[in-house]
C-alpha cells in the first residue's frame, strides 16, 4: 500500500510537530508514508474566497502530485473535504477521480481503511475534543447534534480508548470555532468571538488539553488560548496518540490493512 502524506502548508511551516506526529503514528501502525516534496496546497483558501477559477491550477498540481499513491492521508479534515467535494470543477480524468476517492483524513484512514478503532497507550489528562465542521458535517466522521443526541464519532472513540484519558463533556458539543479560512480575517470580530466562546466552554468544563483533527481550527483556538494566557494546552490528536502510543510492537507492525472501496 503506497500512502502519500499531505501536510497542509500552514502545518508544514508552523506546526511541523503535527506533521511529524502524523508520520510517526502511521509508522507505528505499520504504514510507511511518503511525503512528496513538490506538494503545496489543496486550493481551499482561494476557492472559499470565491476564486475557484484561480484555484484550478492548484487542483491539477495536487492531483499530479498524488495520483501515483493508493491513498493520500492528511491531518486535516478540511483539506480532505475540499479535495473530495470541490474538485468536481476540473475535468474528471481517471487521476482526478482516483485522488478524490482516495484522499482521507488521518483518523478516517486509521478507522476505516486500517480498521483500527482502539489505540493502546496512556495519556492521563482531561482532553477536550473540538470537532471540525468539515470533518463532522462534511465527511460524517462524527454524529451531528442537528440529527441526534448521541455524541459519538471516530475521533472520540479513538481518544476514549487511550488509557487514563478522560473526555470533556461540553455544553455545546459541535459548535463551529469560527476559523472559517479567510473568514477569520474578513469577519474578524465574529470569528474571534466564536473562538472565545468555544474556548470558554472547554475552560468551564475542565479541559486540560484541547485537541481535534483539524489544525486550522486549533491554530485559531490556540491563538485565543495564548492571548488570554489560559491554563490549557492545544495539541493535534495525532500528537496525543503518538505521545501515548509505545514504539511499534510486533502485533501492531504486522498488522495487515484491509483495503476498502472509498465512498465518493
Amino acid at each position: 500500500m503506497k500512502v502519500g502524506l499531505f501536510i497542509p502548508c500552514y502545518i508544514d511551516q508552523f506546526y511541523p510537530q503535527v506533521g511529524i506526529a502524523t508520520y510517526q503514528l502511521l509508522e507505528k501502525l505499520g504504514v510507511q508514508a511518503d511525503f512528496p516534496r513538490q506538494q503545496t496546497c489543496c486550493g481551499q483558501p482561494m476557492a472559499n474566497t470565491g476564486c475557484e477559477q484561480d484555484a484550478k491550477p492548484v487542483y491539477h498540481h495536487f492531483v499530479d502530485t498524488f495520483a501515483g499513491y493508493d491513498y493520500v492521508v492528511a491531518p486535516s479534515g478540511s483539506c480532505v473535504y475540499h479535495v473530495r467535494k470541490h474538485y468536481d470543477v476540473v475535468e474528471q480524468t481517471g487521476a482526478v477521480q482516483h485522488v478524490r476517492q482516495s484522499t482521507f483524513d488521518l483518523f478516517d484512514f486509521i478507522t476505516t481503511v486500517l480498521g483500527v478503532t482502539e489505540l493502546p497507550g496512556r495519556f492521563p489528562h482531561q482532553v477536550g475534543l473540538h470537532l471540525s465542521c468539515h470533518g463532522q458535517r462534511g465527511l460524517h466522521q462524527a454524529n451531528e447534534s442537528e440529527m441526534t443526541p448521541v455524541r459519538d464519532g471516530q475521533l472520540s472513540r479513538l481518544l476514549r480508548s487511550v488509557d487514563g484519558l478522560t473526555l470533556t463533556e461540553l455544553n455545546r458539543n459541535d459548535e463551529c470555532c469560527g476559523f472559517g479560512g479567510t473568514f477569520c480575517i474578513t469577519e474578524e470580530a465574529v470569528s474571534a468571538r466564536m473562538g472565545q466562546d468555544r474556548v470558554q466552554d472547554h475552560l468551564l468544563n475542565g479541559t486540560e488539553v484541547l485537541t481535534g483533527g483539524d489544525m486550522s481550527c486549533l491554530m485559531h483556538l490556540e491563538g485565543i488560548v495564548r492571548r488570554r494566557q489560559l491554563p490549557m494546552r492545544v495539541m493535534h490528536a495525532a500528537e496525543i496518540f503518538n505521545a501515548a502510543l509505545p514504539q511499534p510492537s510486533p502485533s501492531v507492525s504486522t498488522f495487515v490493512p484491509q483495503p476498502i472501496v472509498a465512498e465518493s
Binding site: M46, D54, I185
Partner: protein, 456 residues
C-alpha cells in the same frame, strides 16, 4: 456598510452578544428536543423536500390550478410581477372599498415589498398585529428574525418602547404586564381595522385555499373582524394537495420553536357571506431564482428560522447585520439574487460550517449555495480588489512548489525574527486583534522529513 462592519458593531457589546447568542441557542435546543423525539424526522425532511422540488418543477401548472380553484371559491386573485405592483394592488383594493385602516398579521412578503411605508405615504393607517412585529413597528425598525422579529430586544427595551408609545409605567419590564398592555392596545386596532392582510404559509393548489400558521391567533382575529381579507403570498408557497400539508405543519413548528404544531393553523378558503377575499401572488425575483439551477431550491424555504437559530454567525451578529428582509444563512443566499452588489458580503458571512443545511426542514443545501454565490460574486468582479489580487498571487505561488517553499520559509522566518509588536499590530493584521500568531518553529516539516530520508 458591509456585513463585517455591522457585525463588529454588534459584537462590540459583548454582554448583549452573549445574551443574544444564548437566547437563540435555547430555541435551537428546544428544536433539537422536538426533533429527537420524532424517529422519522429525517424521512419527513426528505418527503418535504421532495414535495417542494416536485412543486417547483411544475410551478406554472400548480399556480394555474390554484388560481382556478381560488376563483371558483369566490376569491379574487391578483398577480404581481414585483414589489411595486404588489403594493399598488393592495392600495387599489383598499381605495376600492374606501378603507383607510389596515391590520396586518405576520408577513415577510409585505416586509420584502416595503408595503408599510408605501401605504402610510398614501394615507393608510397600518398596524402590525403580531406582538413582535408591533414592537419593531413602534420602534421604526425592521424585524431581525423570520419567526422572532423582536429577538434583538431585551424586555427592558420593550418596556421603554411601550412606555413611550403605549403609556405603560416607566421601568415596567414584566413580560406579563407588557403583553397585557399590547393586547389592550391591539384590541382597539382590531376593532377599527377595515381590511386585514395576512401572510400565507402554504397555498394548496387542489383546493385554492391558503393556510396561515400563527401562535397568537392575530391573523384569525384580524380576518374575522374586517370586511376584506387580503392574503399576500410569494409564488413559491404552493403545495399540491391538502394531504401534503401535514408533512409541513409537523416540520414547521418543531424546526422554528420546538413546538409540535403552531397554536393556530387556519385555513382560509372563501370569503364569509357579504365579505371579500383577495389573494395577491407575487414574483419579485422568484422566477429569476427559479431559473438559476444552483440556487433554485432556495425557493423550498418555509421560513421556519431554524437556520438562523443554529447559525453561529447570526447568533453573534444579529439579524440587522444582514440588512436584508430575510436575515441569516437563507437571507445570504436569497439576497444576491435581488441585488448582488449591495449584498455581496453576505455569502461570506459564514464559516461554511454546514449547520444550517443540517437543520433545514426542507433540506436546502444552504452552505453549498453560499459557496457557489462566492464563486459568482468573484467572477462578476464584486470582490474587494485586495482580495482578488491576493488570491491570484496565492494561486501562482501554490501552483509552483519552488516559489511556495521559498514563500513559506520567509513567512516563518519573518515571524520568528520580527518583534511581536510588529507582527501583531492590529492595523496590519486583523488576526492578531484577539489572537496570537503561531509560534514559528526553527524547522519546517519538509526540512525534518528531508533529514529522515537521509537517515533511512
Amino acid at each position: 456598510m458591509s456585513h463585517p462592519q455591522r457585525a463588529a458593531a454588534f459584537t462590540s457589546d459583548a454582554e448583549r452578544t452573549t445574551w443574544h447568542d444564548e437566547t437563540l441557542w435555547f430555541v435551537r435546543q428546544k428544536r433539537d428536543k422536538a426533533v429527537y423525539a420524532i424517529p422519522e424526522f429525517q424521512q419527513l425532511r426528505q418527503l418535504a423536500s421532495d414535495i417542494k422540488e416536485h412543486t417547483l418543477s411544475r410551478l406554472d401548472e400548480y399556480l394555474e390550478q390554484f388560481e382556478q380553484n381560488a376563483r371558483a371559491n369566490g376569491v379574487q386573485v391578483h398577480w404581481a410581477a414585483d414589489a411595486a405592483e404588489h403594493n399598488r394592488i393592495v392600495l387599489d383594493i383598499m381605495r376600492g372599498v374606501g378603507a383607510t385602516s389596515l391590520v396586518k398579521s405576520k408577513s415577510m412578503l409585505t416586509e420584502e415589498c416595503h408595503l408599510n411605508p408605501f401605504l402610510i405615504k398614501n394615507g393608510i393607517a397600518v398596524v402590525d398585529t403580531d406582538l413582535g412585529e408591533r414592537i419593531v413597528q413602534l420602534r421604526e425598525e425592521a424585524p431581525s428574525h423570520l419567526v422572532l422579529p423582536a429577538i434583538h430586544l431585551k424586555k427592558e427595551d420593550v418596556g421603554e418602547t411601550f412606555h413611550v408609545h403605549l403609556g405603560t409605567p416607566k421601568g415596567e419590564k414584566d413580560p406579563q404586564n407588557l403583553t397585557e398592555a399590547a393586547r389592550q392596545h391591539l384590541r382597539e386596532k382590531f376593532l377599527i381595522g377595515q381590511v386585514a392582510i395576512t401572510g400565507v404559509n402554504f397555498a394548496v393548489a387542489e383546493t385554492g385555499a391558503v393556510v396561515v400558521c400563527t401562535n397568537e391567533g392575530n391573523a384569525d382575529l384580524g380576518v374575522n373582524l374586517a370586511q376584506v381579507h387580503i392574503a399576500c403570498m410569494g409564488m413559491e408557497k404552493l403545495i399540491p394537495r391538502t394531504a401534503d400539508l401535514g408533512v409541513f405543519t409537523r416540520l414547521l413548528a418543531r424546526s422554528a420553536t420546538g413546538q409540535p404544531v403552531t397554536t393556530y393553523t387556519s385555513h382560509f378558503a372563501k370569503p364569509a357571506e357579504g365579505r371579500a377575499m383577495h389573494i395577491v401572488i407575487v414574483d419579485n425575483g422568484r422566477t429569476r431564482q427559479l431559473g438559476r439551477p444552483d440556487f433554485r431550491n432556495s425557493l423550498k424555504c418555509i421560513r421556519c428560522g431554524a437556520c438562523m437559530n443554529t447559525c453561529p454567525v447570526y447568533r453573534r451578529s444579529g439579524g440587522h447585520s444582514y440588512d436584508f428582509t430575510v436575515p441569516g444563512p437563507i437571507g445570504a443566499i436569497l439576497s444576491p439574487n435581488i441585488d448582488m452588489r449591495q449584498h455581496s458580503t453576505l455569502p461570506f458571512a459564514s464559516t461554511l460550517c454546514g449547520s444550517c443545511t443540517d437543520v433545514c426542514p426542507v433540506k436546502i443545501d444552504i452552505h453549498a449555495q453560499l459557496y457557489k454565490w462566492r464563486q459568482i460574486i468573484a467572477q462578476e468582479g464584486e470582490l474587494p480588489a485586495s482580495k482578488k489580487l491576493g488570491m491570484k498571487l496565492l494561486s501562482t505561488v501554490l501552483a509552483h512548489p519552488g516559489i511556495y517553499r521559498f514563500g513559506g520559509k520567509i513567512a516563518r522566518e519573518g515571524l520568528r525574527l520580527l518583534p511581536h509588536g510588529l507582527t501583531h499590530a492590529a492595523a496590519f493584521n486583523p488576526w492578531a486583534k484577539a489572537r496570537e500568531l503561531p509560534e514559528p518553529p526553527k524547522q519546517s516539516f519538509r526540512d525534518w522529513y528531508a533529514e529522515q530520508v537521509v537517515k533511512l
